[in-house]
């Protein structure tokens, strides 16, 4: 009985596959890509870089993904979690996209992932670092081509312990992202024999740092670890230097403190050490070709966000190619992505069981206007994916 049923199922599947292949050949359907990213507001430049990166891969790939032409459905998510569910539903239900790509803001990405999960839509996260996305909320249909908050901060904990710092103070915004960064940092730093004197937080997106600088000066730690991004990051680095702390107490950060903010920081940025999965001066043929093409297409230098968008397109292409453009073979498509080695400009990476990149984390030093890669403290670092049942 069982065998006959299996045989029968196989026949039906084969017939269905044949039919859909025929349908494809006839209609030359375009594959529908939903881009839900911030195009206005604080993160607009990140959304644009991700979009540029994604489209660059598509054009390098002959304007196609998995052999099919691409049709984009674009929604500006405004980095507003309150509108996230509605926006995601527009793409998933109305436009019926084959893949949902987004986004930058973790709160928005968490809401999107809920919509994707309910509708079983394939989703690729090209930035949002919330640990949950490839932790407790991981899903077979959900991939991430960026990083988890835990990854770069864990690497920084290791770096600072190795440098012989024993007592540090941490400072970040009081929100999930900052908390996860500090937790990842602590895990490695305490494992390396260090001690955190005090964890300090301020409400997001408050940028009045002066009281904390006074605290740091009176606690006199060996070093300071922070997590900040964007305009707040630029202000913090300037305030830290202006308070005279930069020369006496070294400042370290994971993630994005010095990405896109070096010009704004000016002199205060020089020599800052940060950890991330990308940096300047990664001298590989892959990265050099990527940077050259990007600069040609967009008259701008690519950043880590462009790389993450580029890799989102690459990863989807791997899956779609494996099923010859037939998105109905979801299980095979996912299987192909899970086993793929993504040839990223950051260096090759694979996906962990929870679908987060297993990747190198680089130690970068600000020199001139670049985040120069000076070391690779973690090679092929996998997020622990706590709470993921995949």
């Amino acid at each position: 009985m069982k065998t006959t049923l299996k045989g029968f199922t196989r026949h039906v599947l084969l017939a269905a596959a044949a039919l859909s292949a025929a349908g494809l050949a006839q209609a030359q359907d375009k594959v529908k890509v939903g881009l839900m990213l911030p195009y206005t507001g604080t993160y607009a430049s990140l959304g644009n870089a991700i979009t540029n990166g994604f489209k660059q891969f598509v054009s390098e790939n002959g304007g196609k993904l998995g052999g099919r032409e691409v049709e984009y459905f674009v929604v500006d998510d405004e980095s507003d979690p309150a509108k996230a569910t509605e926006n995601a539903k527009k793409l998933v239900k109305r436009d019926n996209v084959d893949v949902l790509v987004g986004t930058v803001h973790s709160g928005v990405a968490l809401a999107m992932s809920k919509v994707a999960r309910e509708n079983k839509t394939l989703m690729i996260v090209p930035n949002a670092g919330a640990d949950e996305l490839t932790g407790p909320l991981c899903d077979a249909n959900l991939f991430r081509t960026s990083f988890s908050m835990w990854q770069p901060s864990y690497a920084m904990g290791k770096v600072m312990a190795a440098k012989g710092h024993k007592k540090v103070v941490t400072l970040t915004w009081k929100y999930a992202g900052g908390q996860q960064a500090v937790d990842g940092f602590k895990e490695a730093f305490e494992k390396g024999g260090g001690k955190v004197l005090k964890d300090m937080t301020l409400p997001f997106p408050n940028v009045e740092f002066q009281p904390f600088l006074t605290e740091i000066a009176s606690l006199k730690p060996d070093a300071v670890y922070v997590f900040f991004a964007g305009g707040g990051a630029a202000k913090f680095a300037k305030d830290y230097a202006a308070a005279g702390l930069k020369n006496s107490i070294p400042l370290y950060a994971s993630g994005f403190l010095t990405d896109g903010t070096i010009d704004a920081m000016g002199e205060a940025s020089q020599g800052l050490l940060t950890t991330l999965h990308y940096g300047d001066g990664l001298d590989s043929a892959r990265n050099n070709a990527f940077r050259l093409n990007y600069a040609k297409s967009y008259k701008a230098q690519p950043d880590v966000y462009a790389v993450q968008g580029y890799d989102a397109a690459q990863a989807f292409n791997v899956g779609l190619t494996a099923v010859k453009g037939d998105t109905s073979k979801r299980a095979e498509l996912i299987k192909a992505m899970e086993t793929a080695k993504i040839d990223s400009p950051r260096g090759p990476f694979t996906f962990s069981k929870a679908h987060n990149p297993v990747q190198n984390i680089y130690l970068r030093k600000v020199e001139g206007r670049e985040n120069k890669v000076i070391d690779t403290p973690e090679k092929s670092l996998a997020d622990p994916a706590r709470g993921c049942k995949l």
Binding site: T201, P203, P211
Partner: protein, 288 residues
């Protein structure tokens, strides 16, 4: 906290409070005295910061940028008043909210088109770039003290303008009864245009002065908008001294809240507002 740290934190609080007054001063005029709910106040602050950035890049000198920026902001404010706000004085507050909210969106989009969405910075002007050492690890940036001084001058100047000059008298009269002032032969429209332009210029000046220490980035206006309203409301609508006192209270509450009650730092400012309003529903200093 030892006594020395307490002193330094008090300096932080004082300096932050004065900076907040600078940001809120324009709103004191436009919301407090003219009675217009101006949600775009934060955008004028953002425009000021971007003006400082653009003009400093063009002229190479921060002070020249400010000297050019102030008349530009005044003209911009006067034009906005003539084109848009002049039609709203007799209308509902809701329509003012809608207009000024729309302006926020327009200003952000235009900013994005003209100058992009990157984070920018302006170096602190050379002569104020130094820091004064307070102890072996900590020093205090001179530029912050300069800003504090400017804030005090502005507070006194505004008070003098509103309480001691003929123009101020007309402004105060106009805020009580437009029609009466007009029937006395005073061109109330011109006065309102002047006050509104001044309010815009003050917000822009705050943005320009803050630019070297705060950096210049999209959405920076929305960060100052709410706190500005809090200050004007706590201080008592229409009172310059009230706004100054409120700004200092908020400065102290925020600074010491962050240090002593870090888990409630986000709440403390609003708790203070609630307590003050329970104690004095019309704000610390009433209109006068």
């Amino acid at each position: 906290m030892d006594f020395y740290s307490f002193l330094i934190q008090s300096l932080n609080a004082l300096q932050y409070g004065l900076l907040l007054f600078l940001v809120a001063s324009g709103l004191t005029l436009v919301f407090g005295i003219m009675g217009i709910i101006n949600l775009a106040h934060g955008s004028f602050y953002m425009i000021g910061a971007y003006l400082a950035f653009a003009l400093t890049s063009l002229t190479g000198n921060f002070f020249v940028a400010i000297l050019l920026g102030i008349p530009l902001a005044l003209a911009f404010g006067a034009a906005l008043e003539a084109l848009l706000f002049a039609h709203l004085y007799k209308r509902d507050h809701l329509e003012q909210v809608l207009l000024t909210y729309g302006l926020i969106l327009i200003f952000e989009e235009v900013r994005s088109l003209l100058l992009g969405d990157d984070v920018h910075g302006i170096p602190v002007p050379e002569i104020f770039a130094a820091s004064i050492p307070l102890n072996d690890t900590l020093s205090y940036p001179v530029y912050r003290l300069v800003i504090s001084a400017v804030c005090i001058v502005l507070a006194v100047g505004l008070y003098w303008l509103i309480q001691r000059t003929r123009l101020g008298m007309m402004i105060r009269a106009g805020s009580h009864d437009r029609d009466m002032v007009q029937s006395l032969g005073i061109d109330i429209n011109r006065i309102y245009r002047t006050v509104f332009a001044l309010g815009v210029a003050l917000a822009a000046l705050a943005g320009m002065l803050a630019a070297p220490i705060s950096s210049v980035f999209p959405g920076m206006g929305s960060q100052v908008l709410i706190i500005s309203f809090v200050i004007v409301v706590i201080g008592g609508i229409g009172s310059v001294w009230g706004a100054l006192i409120a700004a200092l209270i908020i400065g102290f509450a925020d600074t010491f809240g962050k240090v002593l009650l870090p888990d409630f730092a986000g709440l403390i400012v609003y708790l203070v507002m609630a307590v003050v309003l329970l104690w004095r529903p019309e704000g610390i200093l009433k209109k006068g």
